[in-house]
């Protein structure tokens, strides 16, 4: 039996469904390509209620989260969020998270849907020596992500705060169409946007989440808003060069080879996995996560061999067709000596060798697309 989110009734009537991380979720409504383009050119909205959410409070909350994660929670200002990793003792990535620091000493930890149980067990297991209170609200909070260059203007019509006061990664308690929410200026598409936690909405009485979903659809109508499924979500995050947990990063990936060093703060003090990661750093990072762009025709997929001079040197971990680039893109791991930009490699797809080259992230031109766009 698949799990459902608070917004399932809407998805069931309007989308093609897919099983993902134990949930019955929308794969696409109108189609993956038009949904991707809505987010890149206007605005799109996603149900991300399947993700996990845990409130962490108490005197030791900061110290505790700093011990668990690789990024520096002590550097986090109130009403601001950060991307971080939690690692196992061997330095492998257990999950990637966003931690919101709310008013006072309260934090909201947001984790991947597939890691809900695993992460909560890990949070509990490591909480014993700290004065912290954990509250798993995954099933009592719905979550809607609104993304694209017109996302902020769309939500501004409904939000009871001035959104221009929020910079990227800011977060805040606020009412949206009268409903109590936590907003964060974050996302998984590379675009500007907001992730909206709708508080206190149970699965048995989801009407307030459904109402807000429909209110946002109405507010975005003149901007061409589209409901978007997991199909477009996967393409958009890959175009932005963002890792998907379970595919691009796993418990056997270390943060440095995954090129996530920007959230690993060795100088902040001890954290779980630090010694192992440092040891790997000293030994030298043998392989790296790279972006791969198909230079000819064809679409790479995940788990395809990467070859150099006919020899297998690695494998892709994600691959798709990019509508804005009109071509195939992939992510994968190659030995460090082949990880430089413009390195030519081959990807074996469906018995054929495609020509590709190593490129940087994001895959698109950041002057034309994404939150740094110049227009």
């Amino acid at each position: 039996m698949s799990l459902r989110t608070q917004l399932f009734d809407y998805h069931e009537k309007t989308s093609n469904l897919v099983d993902f991380a134990g949930f019955r979720m929308p794969l696409w409504y109108e189609g993956i390509v038009p949904e991707c383009l809505a987010v890149r050119n206007n605005v799109g909205m996603f149900d991300i209620s399947h993700m996990g959410r845990v409130f962490v409070s108490g005197l030791d909350a900061e110290k505790y989260l700093n011990h668990l994660g690789t990024n520096n929670v002590a550097a986090l200002k109130p009403n601001h969020a950060q991307y971080t990793l939690i690692c196992n003792n061997e330095g492998g990535i257990k999950d990637d998270l966003v931690i919101l620091k709310l008013d006072g000493k309260e934090y909201l930890v947001i984790c991947n849907a597939g890691n809900r149980q695993k992460d909560y067990a890990w949070l509990q297991e490591n909480s014993k020596n700290y004065d912290v209170k954990l509250s798993n609200v995954s099933d009592e909070v719905a979550m809607i992500s609104v993304q694209g260059p017109k996302a902020i203007s769309t939500i501004q019509k409904l939000a009871e705060i001035d959104l221009s006061t929020m910079i990227r990664f800011d977060c805040k308690y606020a009412r949206v169409k009268g409903q109590e929410c936590i907003l964060s200026r974050t996302g998984y598409t590379g675009e500007d946007g907001l992730e909206i936690c709708v508080l206190n909405v149970s699965l048995s009485d989801p009407s307030r989440a459904l109402n807000l979903w429909n209110d946002i659809l109405d507010a975005g109508k003149e901007s061409g808003i589209k409901p978007c499924g997991l199909g477009s979500r996967d393409v958009l995050r890959l175009e932005a060069g963002m890792s998907l947990y379970g595919n691009d990063i796993t418990e056997s990936t270390n943060p440095l080879e995954a090129r996530l060093d920007f959230v690993v703060k060795f100088e902040k003090g001890d954290f779980i996995g630090k010694e192992s990661i440092l040891r790997k750093k000293d030994e030298g990072i043998k392989r790296r996560r790279v972006g791969l762009r198909i230079t000819g025709q064809g679409i790479p997929r995940s788990q395809c061999n990467i070859l150099r001079d006919g020899k297998v040197i690695g494998a892709t971990t994600s691959g798709t067709y990019s509508p804005i680039l009109n071509g195939g893109i992939a992510m994968g791991y190659v030995p460090t000596e082949y990880s430089n930009l413009r390195e030519k490699i081959n990807i074996e797809v469906h018995r054929k060798l495609l020509e590709a080259e190593v490129v940087g992230f994001p895959f698109y031109n950041p002057k034309l697309y994404g939150f740094k766009r110049e227009q």
Partner: protein, 135 residues
């Protein structure tokens, strides 16, 4: 969502969802309406090469959507004498018009009469689709 599938009369069909149309002894082929709807949003068609000799039900290439990739097969044995190059720049023709502008290749058949018996007509193919979509 109940979906209806277009199954024109007068064409031959395979169980792998290719269609075949006999035109003056030559055979035009493509994928069926059911196949294009199952794939949705075709973004790439890997075309066979002209002059290639093929055997019946040999994979000819792939049709790919954003999420999925599917092989397509030669409905009959023979030689590829023409391919629809337009699909290189407009792969979505397979979605828009799978039986006309979205055709994939023309095969000069080696033994059409014998092999045609192995193919389905529109009535048999529609029965196959009913049995598949009932599940």
């Amino acid at each position: 969502m109940k979906t209806e599938y277009d199954i024109p009369e007068g064409l031959y069909y395979t169980k792998e969802h290719e269609w075949l149309k006999v035109e003056n002894g030559k055979c035009r082929m493509g994928i069926t309406d059911y196949a294009q709807k199952a794939l949705h949003e075709v973004v790439f068609v890997d075309l066979p090469k002209r002059g290639t000799k093929v055997s019946r039900m040999e994979p000819l290439g792939t049709v790919e959507s954003v999420k999925a990739v599917s092989d397509y097969f030669a409905p009959i044995s023979g030689e590829i004498i023409e391919v629809n190059d337009v699909l290189s720049s407009k792969p979505d023709l397979v979605n828009k018009n799978p039986y006309e502008d979205g055709w994939i290749a023309i095969i000069k058949p080696a033994s059409l009469e014998a092999e045609a018996k192995e193919l389905m007509n529109s009535i048999k193919y529609s029965e196959l689709l009913k049995s598949i979509t009932k599940k």
